[in-house]
Amino acid sequence: MITQLFIRALGARLYWVVGLLLLAAILVPVSNLLLPIGHPLRVPNYMVALMGKYLTYAMLALALDLVWGYVGILSLGHGAFFALGGYAMGMYLMRQIGSRGVYGNAELPDFMVFLNWSELPWYWWGFDHFWFAMLMVMVVPGLLAFVFGWFAFRSRVTGVYLSIITQAMTYALMLAFFRNDMGFGGNNGLTDFREIVGYSIQAPGTRAALFAATAVALALSFVICSAITKSKLGKIMIAVRDAETRTRFIGYRPEYVKLFAFVVSAVMAGIAGALYVPQVGIINPGEFAPANSIEIVVWAAVGGRGTLVGPIIGAILVNYAKTWFTAAYPDLWLFALGGLFVAVTLFLPKGIVGTIGRYFEDRRDTKAARASETPDLPVVRPEKPPVRRLPGADASPQPAE
């Protein structure tokens, strides 16, 4: 019964989030395109792109939360899936430039002409077609996650070891993409895009449409994540997170559960990356940097991991703060970000949403206890993990518990 209550609470939250996102998907473009410039309610052009960027980040944080918050895999390499999706999109956009590049070569992108490539490498074939590029946006990160996860989870690489090798993965990819002879534009990456499916990428209409697409994609991801986490599979995911060995002994195969979540999450991150690139106008190997991937983790942590709504809120809040800080106090941003890492882990381990949720739960429990007129009945708190005490308070800390 308590579980049902929980699901219903999440269900309400689901409608709210999806409703708000869809509303934004309609209202922002409408206000941007229809209201005259200077109107107080008009969303300016730069704001549309900025908000679109935030929403792609939110989607990325949501993807990370699915593996970190629900399966306990702290991936420090999710930026790699994001960037791979972005590169797939970037390749399509490069092909759309056609002969309008600086060198006017219809066959090759500018950087390949510059580097004296004679023909298009095989892995660029097919990216002239939008459908193929969109397929690759999902297939490439998904495949990488599948192969990587297959090896890692089957040999039971867990905890910090897993985190470190995911970091090594994105680091290796970053080094690889920085190489000019990889054929992805080296350290300049892919940029100078012109058109997407026939519409100019700079036009306000296209930008508004991209924003709407991002909001819808985020809403869709949210629905999918909710469906997964609320299903029976979701319960097993949480079981794997909390007691992997025990779950295995009961008879489940934790590696398949993990693999499923990891691949879904990677595909989601890839789509987020693909939506990010046309709105920002560039993709370069810097997106693979390990520091970027760790930053994603803090978005999820600030909002509250294991809550689905939290990462969305966290990503938007932290990135808004970043935009504000880097404009107003550029020197202080890293202090603020570093402080955020420390403060969240120390004082807000459940994140903003988790902490607020706990507050309301506590209040409801107290009310319920009062209303039941049997004050002796112990208060039952749903799904509350045992509070860990500080070392020194009782038994010594147990590392790698």
Binding site: R156, I164, A176, G338, V342, L346, L390, P391, P399
Partner: protein
């Protein structure tokens, strides 16, 4: 030995001088002989040149060199032999024999001493005698090297004479090599030619390879196989040398990795905590070195060569105390949550980096090398720089010291106990929180020491630590925790592998291949090379 050497040489000089006397001319002082240089026919002057050489005067070698180069002039009024320098008119004149300046002379008042090829040959022979048979082994060595470079077939006889007299083994070897080069360029008979090829091949460096390849292109068909064999020998040797060089580079990289990773390994081993701020501790160690050096430069400049000796304890203390502060202030609240420790220490690393950037600026800081760490030395043909050499030694010392601390001190015993079984160690009365703090301090302090070492070979900038952090993780993950030997083996393996892959794949691809290798390796041995065994694994 040296004395007899000296004596022999002088006896010979005297003999040569006597011969010259018997030739008719009376024994004269060098000064007189030199004054006769401008006059007479070329053949008479060649005679004078050999007499100058026969005096054995060490100053004569330079003078004869100048003569062969056509740089000698005679001042017409005084008959002085001078070399000129400067431009225009008048020119600065220097006495060619004594090297004393005699002031300015007008261009019109001097006349160049003319030379022809036969006189040049006489000069070269004379100089060869003077230098190849000089009493000073260094002079002979220089002369022999010069002849090796010149490789003139006309020098063979001269070298034969010198070789017959030579006692010093090192000089003898160079002389024989010089003779071999000369023979290779002459029309010697096949047997002598083959011997010369062997001599050159025995030298075995790139220069020898070049000489043989040049000889091959102009050689007759019957000696070609000899030369080809010589070339193959040298190439085999050079390949071996390349391997040696790569091993050394690998060991040197491995030592750096070891220094950076070893502190990480003990904190990870004992506490199960990944310290993402470890790289920043290295960076702080390097900045401490910078500050200590600045202080010493300003206050006690004579102690500059010892600045690193002061920097080491300073860096250890500074970073060790910061490490303890981090443990007490942040990490101890996060035990049992290793993933969140990872995030919190990452946050700390951002803060420390930005703090250093704000304080010292984002640009590189200059940290000087003490004089005993500059330069390089040659080890069987492998050039080894002193700073790399000392870093390898230093890394091994730190490793040994840490091993000693772990095996021989009370803290080490407690650390090992906590690593193996924290709960049991606690039950036996070990204050595990204290051990944690000390371990973290020790690990950070060692990072500081690594920073002192790295300040000698890397740019001291706020990003210094970031460059090493992922590599040190790889070492720890590869080597396994709970055993320092794992870290040593891991660091050296990765270092050497990296340097062996680099020539084939390039630096970046080598690193990528290595990362892929480690990711695959972890599949096979999820707990690293030297994994802890027993129940602790599944804790």
């Amino acid at each position: 030995m040296i004395f007899t050497d000296f004596l022999r040489r002088h006896v010979m000089m005297i003999a040569v001088a006597l011969l010259a006397t018997c030739g008719g001319a009376s024994a004269q002082s060098v000064e007189d002989l030199v004054r006769q240089l401008p006059k007479g026919s070329y053949s008479d002057r060649a005679e004078i040149v050999s007499q100058i050489a026969a005096t054995g005067d060490p100053r004569a070698a330079n003078l004869l060199d100048a003569l062969a180069a056509g740089e000698l002039n005679v001042v017409e009024a005084t008959g002085q032999i001078v070399t000129l320098s400067g431009r225009g008119d008048p020119l600065d004149a220097v006495d060619a024999l004594t090297g004393e300046s005699i002031g300015e002379v007008a261009k019109a008042s001097v006349e160049r001493i003319r030379v022809n090829n036969s006189l040049r040959r006489a000069v070269r022979t004379a100089v060869g005698q003077l230098t190849l048979m000089s009493g000073d082994a260094n002079t002979r060595m220089t002369a022999a090297r010069a002849m090796f470079q010149a490789g003139d077939p006309d020098n063979v006889e001269l070298l034969d004479e010198a070789i017959a007299e030579e006692q010093n083994a090192a000089v003898l070897q160079v002389m024989e090599e010089a003779r071999a080069v000369a023979i290779l360029r002459s029309d010697a008979e096949p047997a002598a030619f083959a011997a010369a090829v062997d001599t050159i091949a025995a030298r075995g460096d790139r220069q020898a390879l070049g000489i043989l390849q040049a000889a091959l292109s102009s050689a007759d068909a019957d000696v070609t196989p000899t030369i080809e064999k010589g070339i193959a020998d040298i190439q085999g040797r050079l390949a071996l040398l390349d391997v040696g060089q790569n091993v050394w580079y690998g060991v040197s990289l491995g030592a750096v990795l070891l220094l950076a990773a070893i502190g990480l390994a003990i904190t990870f081993g004992v506490m199960g905590v990944i310290n993402m701020a470890h790289g920043e501790m290295v960076m702080l160690g390097a900045y401490t070195t910078f500050l200590v050096q600045n202080f010493i430069r300003a206050s006690f400049p004579e102690l500059f060569d010892w600045s690193l000796a002061f920097a080491l304890p300073a860096a250890f203390l500074v970073t060790g105390l910061i490490g303890i502060a981090i443990e007490r202030g942040v990490i101890r609240f996060l035990y049992g949550r290793p993933l969140e420790t990872l995030l919190a220490t990452w946050g700390l690393s951002l803060i420390i980096q930005q703090a250093v950037r704000t304080t010292f600026g984002a640009s590189n800081r200059e940290v000087g090398n003490p004089s005993w760490m500059s330069g390089s030395f040659d080890f069987y043909g492998i050039a080894i720089t002193w700073n790399r050499f000392f870093i390898v030694i230093f890394a091994l010392i730190v490793f040994a010291a840490l091993l000693l601390v772990l095996k021989r001190t009370a803290l080490g015993l407690q650390m090992r106990a906590v690593t193996q079984n924290r709960r049991m160690a606690s039950s036996m009365g070990i204050r595990t929180p204290w051990v944690d703090a000390m371990t973290f301090g020790l690990g950070s302090g060692i990072a500081g020491l690594a920073g002192v070492a790295l300040s000698q070979i890397d740019n001291v900038s706020p990003n210094l630590g970031q460059g090493y952090i992922i590599d040190s993780f790889m070492v720890v993950v590869f080597g396994g925790v709970g055993n320092l030997w794992g870290t040593l083996v891991g660091a050296m393996t990765l270092g050497v592998l990296n340097k062996f892959l680099e020539p084939y794949a390039g630096a970046v691809l080598a690193k990528i291949l290595l990362l892929v290798f480690i990711i695959l390796f972890i599949q096979k041995r999820p707990r690293g090379l030297f994994a802890q065994k027993g129940r602790a694994v599944e804790a």
